[in-house]
């Protein structure tokens, strides 16, 4: 099915009308219906179906803490803060767009100019207890500094644990091992981004 078909709102639904017999009124007809239903053996069809499923033993249970289902790379779970690959500096330039766009008001940041007149982020917290995981912050970030990761198990004993910046920032040693992958989350550039970008007329 192509995308155009989904976008077309003026569709006529192809509902099939299944003819249903009117319930019998006359006593004789009622009796006939009972006899028919009794001897058609539909109850045994039901028995057979569940027995077949039991013998097939095609179990669909996921034993959750032991095994987990894979999630989509575009799943919007707990955020990640990325670093620059070469220098190891934080990618965040302190522009404050994410703080501005956040509709749950859960992002707070504090910035200052360092000795090189580069903006430095001194405080950056996301209150995950308030966050609704809409993905706006990742989408608005011009530097791909904040993206959504795949960590969805974030239960904790204290609410203070939901605002730790160290948990979401890529650790330095992790970065040096080259483990910071570029498209693991919502808000990051997709692998075929170059093909999908339409060049502006100025480029010609």
């Amino acid at each position: 099915m192509s995308l155009e078909q989904f976008k077309d709102r003026n569709v006529t639904q192809n509902y099939k009308f299944i003819p249903v017999d009117k319930p019998p009124v006359a006593p004789m007809d009622k009796f006939k219906q009972v006899v028919k239903r009794t001897f058609r053996g539909e109850l045994f069809v039901g028995l057979w179906v569940v027995f077949r499923e039991m013998v097939k033993f095609n179990i669909h249970t996921v034993q959750y803490p032991k095994e987990k289902l894979p999630i989509s790379p575009r799943y919007r779970a707990v955020h990640k803060l990325y670093r620059l690959l070469e220098s190891g500096y934080e990618r965040c330039i302190g522009c404050g767009l994410c703080e501005k766009i956040c509709i749950a008001n859960c992002i707070r940041m504090d910035t200052r100019y360092d000795e090189n007149q580069r903006k430095e982020v001194t405080e950056y917290t996301i209150n995950l207890g308030r966050c609704i995981f809409c993905g706006y912050c990742a989408e608005v970030c011009p530097e791909l500094a904040i993206v959504h990761g795949g960590r969805y198990e974030n239960a904790s004993e204290q609410r203070a644990h939901f605002v730790l910046r160290d948990d979401i920032l890529t650790p330095l040693d992790f970065l040096k091992e080259g483990k910071q992958e570029e498209f693991p989350g919502f808000g990051a550039v997709s692998p075929n981004a170059d093909e999908r970008i339409k060049k502006t007329p100025l480029a010609y």
Binding site: G46, L47, V50, I59
Partner: protein
């Protein structure tokens, strides 16, 4: 056999039956959860013990140690005594059921029946029917509208199936000419072809349907139909009192499976190369499995549908069956 021997052997039998059957009732809940899960493509209990086998134990500990809550406006003595009626009648009914063929152990011949009354069938069915006082009293005493509805449905159920049970079993009894379950069993001692199910198939089906209603298992699971009346008569119950209802229900299921296999399926007679003791255990296991099987496959009926079925369909069928049996016996 002297009086002391008789008393001691009876007490031992009672203790053994009580122990084994309450354990079986617990194990029955495990089996039910597992089989239902497999039929619905689930795994069922898996975490406590290997394959969840110790789940029964965990549930038992939970039920025993739970607080015994008695609602404020309930009729307290009746509320407290109702589950005991449920469990007690289920075990009393077992007293007249021959569980296995006679066997010898340590040089003593054991009759695996607590008391061989000569009206065994009547006794078992009567006690099982009086077991319905448990949900009736529980529902009426618990000062809860769901409980009250459950109690009302108990009466409906009792009025519906009880006639069918009696009439359906009448035809085989006419053939055997005795109410003792041992006599009925011995009547079918000629092997596979002698089973009463072959001469009385209609009675077997009717008895099974009435039995489902009697133990309130799924097609006629009206007393505690979750979708309609929260948990019916057991809504206000928790802890051990609630557990006793369940021990009673599962024991009733096993008793009914024993009755059906004794009366219709050849009882504990040798079945080909299978010795009698194993044969009856196989039959009872199959019937128990059938109880769970239907629960996974079939939908519930409404109370009015149950009454309609029992009074307008099953009752005439049972009467016709008795008349035909009588005519055949006369000729």
């Amino acid at each position: 056999m002297t009086l002391t021997e008789f008393v001691i052997s009876t007490i031992v039998k009672i203790l053994v039956v009580l122990g084994i059957f309450s354990a079986l009732a617990g194990f029955g809940t495990y089996l039910e959860r597992k089989i239902l899960a497999f039929m619905q493509r689930r795994l069922g209990p898996m975490h406590v013990g290997p394959y969840g086998l110790l789940q029964v134990l965990a549930d038992g500990i939970k039920l025993f140690t739970k607080e015994d809550i008695i609602p404020q406006n309930s009729v307290k003595p009746i509320f407290m005594i109702a589950p005991i009626i449920g469990a007690a009648t289920a075990f009393i009914a077992l007293a007249a059921v021959p569980l296995l063929p006679e066997f010898e152990i340590f040089g003593i011949t054991v009759h695996p029946i607590i008391s061989d009354v000569n009206v065994g069938v009547l006794f078992v069915l009567g006690v099982m029917a009086s077991g319905l006082y448990a949900p009736l009293l529980a529902g009426m005493a618990s000062a809860n509208k769901w409980g009250l509805l459950g109690a009302a449905r108990t009466v409906i159920q009792l009025l519906s199936y009880e006639v069918v049970t009696g009439l359906s079993i009448m035809a085989p009894l006419m053939m055997v000419g005795s109410l003792s379950l041992i006599d009925i069993n011995n009547y079918q001692s000629g092997g596979f072809a002698d089973w009463i199910i072959w001469t009385q198939p209609v009675a077997f089906v009717l008895f099974l349907i009435a039995g489902f209603a009697e133990t309130n298992r799924t097609p006629f699971d009206l007393l505690e139909h979750e979708a309609e009346i929260v948990s019916g008569y057991a809504t206000e119950y928790s802890g051990m009192r609630w557990g006793m209802f369940f021990i009673g229900e599962y024991t009733n299921m096993i008793t009914l499976a024993f009755l059906a296999s004794l009366i219709f399926l050849g009882g504990f007679n040798d079945w080909g190369f299978i010795p009698g003791a194993l044969a009856i255990i196989l039959k009872v296991s199959f019937l128990f499995f059938f109880f769970l099987w239907t629960r996974a496959a079939w939908p519930h009926v409404r109370p009015d549908q149950l009454m309609w079925l029992c009074w307008k369909v099953l009752l005439p069928l049972a009467v016709v069956n008795i008349v035909i049996t009588g005519l055949v016996l006369m000729i």
